[in-house]
Amino acid sequence: MRTAVVVFPGTNCEQDVAHALSSLGGEVELVWHRETDLSGFDGVVLPGGFAHGDYLRTGAIARFSPVMAEVERMAAQGLPVLGICNGFQVLCEAGLLPGALIANRDLAFICRFVDLEVVDNDSILTGSAEIGQRIRIPLNSYEGNWVDPGKTGRIVLRYLGDPNGSQHAAAGVANDGGNVVGVMPHPERGVDELLGSGDGRVLLEGFLHSLVPA
């Protein structure tokens, strides 16, 4: 079972995501944003970074990349689609997830470990975790403040505390089907105790378990 990790110009977490997923036994391939065929893949990850420099609005230009038609197809077919950080922003811009991400309340970039709580484990990201489970992984964003005026988002991960002003302290949000998930903190930065935490593993394992042959 294969996972595509999409690389937009300006993406920078693609190698980290690929490394983390492979270290958990996943089969991963990097895919350039001009790719128009993801038919050989069972799931897709949009990793963090600054696609198109985050110019105009974060994620706004990336959502028109050729590869996004395939991401939309996979989302519609119920295949796992995970957006991390900038990938979350792209999924919101593309309308695959509700809401949008705006600047952090304090108008500063935040890079540090944050504590999260799993509040819904019926999603491709949280499927291997217990409800109420505490997870400590790094946050790394300037526009991590999720707003959802329509109040339609399904929150799967919540911050303990309020680092950035996000509505309902949401850190991870799913679509109704639970197969499209956006998460602001970085699970791939939490797979190695030497770097401070292994808590991200249960999330990425959940993603890998949710892959079913296409």
Binding site: F50, D54, F109, C111, N140, L195
Partner: protein
């Protein structure tokens, strides 16, 4: 340009220079680009060692890490641009240092920033500090290179002249090494990246080569705007060019722009170059030849490509969505010929722009005031040790740097084993057992009191900082931030500092592989303290499986001080500054033998001891407090003498360990306390609750930035 410099251009060319030629010589012969005041002194640096692959003279130094791996490193200042526009000045400083490193074929893997400002009580300094930190964050985070460490200092001498230095480390496989050479006749020059505009005409070169006064405000239109997105694409494109072996050489476009990126590679290769300015992709119309040659538009690189590979290079540029243009052809001979709108606008010996720049042997004089400072007694530190400690922890230069480093992505690439907030940073090299440790150290006040010994101490301190992560020192880069070199006192400080750095490097057996000089750091006639900054790279091979961390102290562990015993000298220390607001006396000189022993011992202990922490700003008391804060636990310390608690005498560190687990050398170590409870007790002073330590420490910068 001075009249004499103008004369020597005349002599070189045997005729009156054309306007474009004059433009090229004036930027290339600026202080910033030509090192005309410093070059004679920089020859003093030891630059050789068996592991040096590329020493000073190229865009970055390169050293051998073994097993086919190389590291490239370089440090650079962006002081004056950051004063004019803090966000963009700092951002373009980051962009520039990255280009210096990926020009060598290396992938940049980490950045460090060394920043210095006037006191935060002044809103102007808060504005500069905030702008610089946002600029480094804005560029570094978006370009996708983690900023894993640095330093912060505050002193009134930087109020009119903040210092912004940035250092970059890259790694590469040996076969990927690329040099800044134009190759051989037939090679063509391909300009990659952003379109050229009028921004930054003579920006870095001119701005960095003169002092600040009211007129500097008029230099504002030359501000450059960085585009980290473009640089990210440029990095990936260049690394793919190297991977596929498509280039003969590469040169980044930094200060002096096209003038530098054409003349230097041609000069180094001993060839000539025909350049056609009409091919340069521009973002503004009507640019003149001098403007095109002097523009410092950011995010540009010049690749020298064998003719038959040009199409492949252009295709890679298209793939990464960057612009490119063939702008020149390498010729036999040594002439740089520049054409614009069908006419020859410059025809000069390529090498002369770099090699024939004037060298000044500027007069030097030991400042008269120095003996007076040395003779002024250092006031005794009276009062309760707990109170003194809390005042030190509340100082923005000693308190937590989280306000700064949490704005930087310091974790990207999953290699940051020890990140900001400790001593040296430790970066693992994946696929090997190696770890790369870097520490950057400067101390303007110490060097004001003693530029030679102070500078030596910076090298020893940096070496100890990397040693506590398990690394042995490998190489040094330096950034020499000084005042106006036309003043004999400043030149003397400069020479002394170079001597001090050189002596310490020789003692440790490590080379200087690159650096940068920033002169004219004065405002309205007042020079900054001499502020050399040392960036030291160490190699841990193998890297400790569980490296020491400040957070690993536990109840019942013993605290040992290692190194020569402090004699209580407080000259130049943080305590003297914070408590007495004075700068007097003569700091303790370094002890090279002790330094070497302690560095080797620390690198060894790092494999066996849970906490190792070097004793520097704030002395023993602050070092122990930092362990208590990170481990959220208390300690009892027997020392009652304020002098010995707060002295910053060199070559000392603390080790925290379970009793009887590790043998420490007698004479060079002594037990000073025990980890215990939830408060810190210094001698007979009142216990300080750990929560109070943490609040004070963490609030030092945020409290001031809140205004």
């Amino acid at each position: 340009m001075t009249d004499e410099e103008h004369e020597s251009v005349l002599g070189l060319l045997g005729r009156d220079p054309r306007p474009a030629e004059l433009a090229m010589y004036s930027v290339m012969w600026s202080e910033h680009c030509s090192y005309k005041s410093s070059r004679a002194h920089l020859r003093r640096f030891p630059t050789e060692a068996p592991w040096v692959v590329v020493g000073p003279g190229e865009n970055a130094g390169v050293v051998d890490l073994g097993d086919g791996w190389l590291a490239a490193l370089r440090i650079e200042s962006h002081n004056h641009p950051s004063f004019v526009e803090p966000y963009q000045g700092a951002a373009t400083g980051v962009g520039g240092i990255l280009r210096d490193v990926f020009t060598m074929g290396a992938r940049p893997i980490a950045l460090w920033d060394q920043i210095r400002f006037g006191p935060l009580e002044d809103p102007k300094n808060r504005y500069l500090f905030n702008g610089v930190v946002s600029g480094i964050a804005g560029y570094g985070n978006a370009v996708g290179v983690p900023t894993v460490g640095g330093e912060i200092e505050f002193d009134p001498c930087y109020s009119g002249n903040p210092l912004v230095n940035v250092m970059c480390l890259g790694i590469l496989r040996r076969e990927q090494l690329v040099l800044g050479t134009a190759g051989s006749p037939g090679t063509v020059a391909v300009l990659l990246g952003r379109a050229t505009g009028r921004d930054g005409i003579g920006g870095a070169s001119v701005l960095a080569s003169a002092s600040f006064d009211d007129e500097s405000q008029e230099k504002r239109p030359s501000v450059q705007v960085g585009d980290p997105f473009e640089e990210k694409k440029l990095i990936e494109a260049c690394l793919e060019l190297y991977d596929r072996g498509l280039v003969a050489g590469v040169q980044d476009l930094g200060a002096a722009g096209l003038s530098c990126a054409t003349s230097e590679p041609a000069g180094r290769a001993g060839v000539g170059l025909d350049v056609d300015l009409d091919s340069v992709h521009v973002r503004e119309t009507g640019m003149t030849a001098p403007e095109l040659l002097m523009s410092e538009s950011q995010e540009r690189m010049m690749a020298f490509v064998p003719t038959d590979l040009v199409d492949e290079v252009l295709a890679i540029a298209t793939k990464w969505e960057i612009d490119s243009a063939v702008v020149g052809t390498v010729r036999v001979g040594g002439t740089l010929t520049v054409r614009h709108q069908g006419e020859i606008v410059a025809e000069v010996p390529a090498a002369s722009l770099a090699d024939d720049a004037p060298i000044y042997d500027r007069p030097m004089r030991r400042p008269d005031w120095l003996d007076g400072l040395w003779a002024t007694p250092v006031r005794i530190l009276e009062g309760d040790a707990a109170d003194i400690l809390l005042r030190l922890l509340d100082d923005p230069a000693l308190g937590s740097t989280a306000w700064v480093h949490e704005q930087y992505d310091h974790m990207l690439f999953l290699n940051t084993v020890v990140g900001p907030g400790s001593d040296g940073a430790l970066i693992r090299v994946r696929g090997t057992d190696k770890g790369l440790a870097v520490s950057t150290d400067g101390n303007g006040r110490l060097c004001q009191l003693d530029p030679r010994d102070g500078s030596s101490r910076l090298v020893y301190e940096a070496a100890l900082n990397v040693a506590v992560t398990g690394a042995r020192p490998l190489a040094v880069v330096d950034n020499l931030n000084f005042g106006n070199p036309e003043k004999p006192e400043v030149m003397w400080q400069f020479k002394e500092s170079v001597e001090g750095i050189s002596a310490a490097c020789e003692m440790l057996g490590i080379p200087v592989v690159g650096g940068n000089v920033s002169f004219y750091n004065e405002t309205d006639g007042i020079d900054i303290h001499p502020t050399p900054v040392v960036g030291l790279l160490g190699l841990a091979d193998p890297m400790p499986g569980t490296p020491p961390r400040l957070s690993r102290a536990e109840e019942g562990m013993e605290i040992w001080e290692i190194g020569p015993e402090a004699n209580g000298n407080l000259s130049g220390t943080a305590a003297q500054r914070v408590i007495h607001d004075e700068l007097t006396g003569r700091p303790t000189p370094p002890d090279p033998d002790a330094a070497e022993k302690v560095v080797a011992l620390a690198a060894d202990l790092a494999h066996r001891v849970p906490v190792l922490h070097d004793i520097s700003d704030g002395g023993l008391a602050v070092a122990i407090a930092e362990v208590c804060i990170a481990s959220q636990i208390g300690a009892n310390v027997a020392e009652t003498d304020n002098g010995r608690l707060f002295s910053e005498d060199p070559h000392r560190l603390i080790a925290v360990l379970e009793p009887h687990t590790v043998e420490l050398p007698e004479g060079l170590s002594r037990k000073v306390g025990t980890i215990r409870g939830d408060s810190l007790v210094l001698g007979s002073s009142d216990p300080i609750d750990v929560r109070r330590l943490i609040e004070t420490f963490e609030g030092a910068i945020p409290r001031r930035m809140a205004g």
